[in-house]
Symmetry: C2
């Protein structure tokens, strides 16, 4: 820990790389010798163009995607994407197909329902979202316009460990909580989106990575700001973009490159997750993981203790050790440690050590 | 000028108070002893709640509004409001009425047109948007759901000097470029909105100040994120808000209070504007203002020189004096000096002095 900083296990807004914050701090009054803050420069200036385009290029490079994909910066969070997706793609009587694997995938489906175009193609709701539905549990409707999945479920602590096969139906994924956390064959997705406030930057930017051919013709009877091609045609500069947020996302992407890219991130993230899952699995039931083992998230580790009293004690004592933000979401209860890219190994080690000590003191 | 800063006349994103930027810089790694950046704290935490609610309260206090008004923080800029307004209010066959006084008011109207509910109630297009239509030039349709105006036209440099009388029809105003720049009887408006990146903060937050009774019942067949009551019911925390931007808006609002509130801002802004309009009016036609005198903006001063060559020379020489961002928008040409709240008197004085010197050297 440095500069009076705590270990921040918040689910989002979440920890950012200290290096990135320090860089932003040092140039906050005068960006790149412009004599202005990056918050004050014109979004039509060459200085901003460089920030914007470098962020896009680095993200595509990290994901190993080529010219057939486009990076967009949108506002309104994943919740706005939930509405844009059916409006843009569930056309001509076709239906949006959804796998329900947690809270946000269910909200995405409900938003399609408002438009009368939602179909449930798979669900783990009956299992209290402890697992990700398997390939053979996903049944697409005959009129499927797309299949929508949420790749990592922040609240329940589950994550896909495979990419669903859709036999040609476009695959759309909400990766808000595991974007750029590991390599994947991203070319199997038609559209990937993420509210950046978990793994990539401050709240207020939605990163969308999309196959160009998928958004060539957005419907013209929907609001301009809800058409994907409004963003692709104007390099996400149709109106003033959330420039400071995009600047921060660019810095985080450059930081990931410096760490060795997505493969290096994946290895580091797997090591970090193993520390906590081992602490759970070796606790003789003192800690009970929420997620089924084959669906465990590398980003959000959820677990419960014997009772709520003990859980409250755990949260309070952890906080005294500067281990913050580990109280779980009310719909699962217990604990949730969010260990995104920016969380250092030492932070997770400190939590794992604390878990061992707390168990011994409270058996 | 301090700390290698220039005088920034950009139209938006635009200059922010140096004091505010310095404060943000000093606490960027550790907000309020939380051990986290304000970008990293949870939007459900008491620390963030205080930031959020203080910003709302200060804005209402500055505007002299009571409990019958609500402050909302939305994303997507004014362009998203253009679509939300007809979706939320032009219902039951009623029509959105629009006064066209420039580029953005026209875009707002066009967005209503996409929904088939737009009516032009007045326009100064034939006069190349040199003036604001007068009260008797505004004709509401019999089925008017609301009257929409753009109070200050950033591109053309015009501003309303009166509040249109609508005889009970709800009045809606885009105040993106003059929000909190002067007192006004804000209670005559049903809804006021502003992309904050001109007068109030970094891009990525839309400030909406609205009469509670006007948004009680948003239609349930439109996307959740486009219903005004989604924001009012959840204190603008239905999903993760653009927290850093709201934090900056809060700091700017507190700074305005410290300057003496809207009356003090209005006086300062009038003095600043007079410097430039006097320089134009006393130039014997060397500088030609775009706006008609009775419609001149206190925020954006637009003027032309004899030819484009001379204009290019003006921009280049001004830049050498650290007077930046004064090239006009392509649809008007010439110069535009944006002199928002945060622009100090000395900056405008430096520009006025330069205008005099440049005229003498280039007569």
């Amino acid at each position: 820990m440095k500069a009076n900083r705590v270990y921040n296990f918040n689910p989002g807004p979440a920890i950012l790389p200290l290096e990135v914050l320090k860089e932003a701090q040092s140039e906050l009054l005068n960006f790149n010798n412009s004599g202005m803050s990056v918050m004050e420069i014109s979004h039509r200036s060459p200085e901003y163009d460089e920030v914007h385009n470098k962020a896009k290029a680095d993200i595509k490079e990290l994901m190993g995607l080529g010219d057939d994909y486009e990076v967009l910066f949108i506002q309104g969070g994943a919740s706005t994407e939930f509405a844009m997706i059916p409006m843009n793609f569930a056309l001509d009587g076709k239906k949006g197909n959804y796998v329900l694997s947690g809270s946000f995938s269910t909200k995405a489906y409900q938003e399609a329902e408002i438009q009368g175009v939602g179909v449930v193609a798979g669900s783990s709701k009956e299992n209290n979202f402890r697992n990700i539905p398997k390939q053979d549990e996903i049944k697409l409707s005959a009129d499927a316009a797309y299949l929508h999945i949420c790749y990592n479920n922040t609240i329940y602590g589950t994550e896909y460990h495979y990419i669903p096969e859709t036999h040609g139906v476009p695959l759309i994924a909400d990766m808000s909580s595991d974007m750029l956390s590991r390599p994947l064959d991203f070319s199997r997705f038609s559209l990937i989106y993420a509210g950046v406030q978990k793994n990539l930057g401050p709240a207020g930017v939605t990163l969308v990575v999309v196959k160009k051919s998928f958004i060539e013709n957005s419907p013209e009877n929907i609001p301009t700001m809800l058409r994907y091609n409004t963003y692709s045609k104007k390099n996400s500069l149709y109106n003033t973009p959330p420039a400071f947020g995009i600047y921060m996302v660019g810095k985080v992407a450059a930081w990931i490159k410096k760490q060795g890219g997505l493969q290096a991130m994946a290895e580091k993230n797997a090591q970090k997750a193993a520390l906590l899952y081992d602490a759970i699995d070796n606790s003789n039931g003192f800690y009970k993981g929420h997620a089924d083992k084959d669906s465990r998230s590398f980003m959000n580790v959820t677990f419960r203790l014997a009772n709520e009293e003990l859980e409250a004690k755990f949260v309070a004592e952890a906080k005294k050790q500067q281990l913050c933000g580990i109280k779980g979401h009310r719909s699962v209860g217990g604990m949730r440690a969010s260990i995104y890219n920016a969380m250092p190994y030492e932070g997770v080690k400190a939590l794992a050590d604390f878990m061992l000590k707390f168990k011994e003191e409270n058996l």
